[in-house]
Symmetry: D3
Subunit: 133 residues, 6 copies
């Protein structure tokens, strides 16, 4: 199995509901370093898993929907605790949809899987891995 | 599949038996940067894989049983070469037991898997991954 | 010259005023990985620059005044753009005061200098370095 | 499952054919930080997955066949775009062969799998994972 | 003293002349992770050392003059061994000129200093630090 | 000012005397990731600050005098608390002596300064910087 990973980051504000969160119930924020890992059984005739330039551009465009914002105000995230693990799932959903609809080319539609990992701090990170559709 | 990882570290002394180990047969030591990666199929209603604060506290408590010590003198490790791969397995065992007995809450008992990775140096690390029980 | 560095991190929300900031004028947030670097000409009789455990505890306490909060609502930061470079200066001020008043012991009062560095993202960081008083 | 990873790096020149590559069609180069991850179900009686010193030596020897060279001139890579994902596959092939033929000892012949990951830049990397033969 | 650092990277081919270089006399290449560190005594009224977005854009433009190329063919580098330390000096020169001529704004013309650091591998890097003119 | 840095690491056991050290009074150990940073005003005619291959070899040889050992048993360190800051100073002394006596060539004798930094854990490190003689 081949994998190719590209990285970017976002800087967001948010707050959590639930006593379990302690001080994180207050409005605070995070830099999420984002790693998008594409999986494929084969490379194409150019020895590419996916167009890496295109992957970076598409990832950037999708991240722009949440970057430099307060997630508490995002209609797509209403009533949801935007934990690191949930945001990995959310961004996985956006990127998987882009793969399915051909935005990342034919290779993007044939991916064996996709993993999105978000680093919230030097000592903690979360990920969601699954098929693209 | 979701994953959540928390990190900590320990600083231990030990020595190895067996000519294969060369100079590492002498008493020496290591900083092990420890990464505990929890796996789950689902998040709970708060969008949490596991209580991250609790996970850090429990991991710290378990690491205290070996931190700042000479592993050669540890009764639980008598006659065992405490290689990085073995120590990953050992800490996995401690953490898996804590998951099974409810120390990490109900979510900890439903984990799909657990991986413990120990970085011994910038250029070498080892891990053990398996179910919690 | 000797130096000793300890690390921690904070997760804050904030917004900036000024067209120069573009999308960062919106309420967003950041994880700041904080590195506090203490400078001294000499070590003490125990070969310590400063008590590292104490340094970590004091740094943590000072960071708690801004951690998990919206800097826009902090009275000590009213009307100030809390850029990464400014926050490095702000935390330097808090830590330098603790050094001067003996909170970090006698060694803390004799420091040759102090540098506070904040990493806001994998590709950007800022620092302030200066004497402690 | 156990894993053990050792790291090294190579510095190569190459160029790509295909409009998709844009400016990377020009002769350029890369530092590939190489991570070789060995997988095994069990450790041996010494608690070793594999002889780590031997693994580093063998990896170094195999990397020497491409290190400090122009991949465009390498007979083993004629007519092939030496993308990061392809080079991960190529080095996986060399290392898997060394495992099969006993160069890494008996433990090397019993490996459950092998993953080779190449970091081409702080924001991009690729890997190939598969059985040793 | 304040500092602000932004990062980028380039991928180049080159070769060295001189027996001291051993196998590096052959055409090979490198990924240089580039860190540009700007120094200033004061922040402006917006609490900025320099416009970070502008700094990233200008750095990118300057790096484009060498990125994805064979340095052996660069007229500005004819007859020069493009070692990591020399390339740090070369990029420092380009960036310092941009600071002097106002490309980075008024703040760029008042910088107290500039450091350019190039990481050639996980285990080696070089830098040049000096005034901007 | 130019700088060139090479890295290596050592794995040692030791214990500390003094109540201030708490649990670190017990025999334990550390991986020290070692960074040796050489400073020079000028590069030579080959555009080298120092022979990097030679620097790595000499550093390795010097580190061998403490690597894979219990520092408590080292005659050169008798009665000394081998804190990270002290060990940075100790290795600085060894490397500065090698520079002075010509082991690193003529360039090594003309260095403007030398910094040795030891990372003991992901969250703590220490350094000593000074002239070579």
């Amino acid at each position: 199995m081949f994998s190719l990973t590209v990285c970017d980051h976002i800087m967001i504000a948010h707050s959590f509901r639930g006593e379990e969160f302690g001080p994180a119930q207050r409005l605070h924020g995070a830099t999420y370093a984002v790693e998008a890992e594409f999986h494929a059984e084969k490379l194409d005739h150019l020895q590419l898993l996916i167009d890496i330039g295109l992957a970076k551009t598409v990832l950037r465009k999708l991240l722009d929907t949440v970057d430099y914002s307060n997630l508490d105000d995002n209609p797509a995230l209403t009533g949801i605790n935007t934990t690191t693990e949930y945001m990995a799932f959310h961004i996985h959903g956006l990127l998987a949809a882009a793969c399915r609809d051909g935005t990342l080319g034919v290779a993007g539609q044939k991916l064996a899987g996709l993993k999105v990992l978000l680093r919230e701090a030097p000592t903690a990170w979360a990920a969601f891995e699954g098929p693209i559709g």
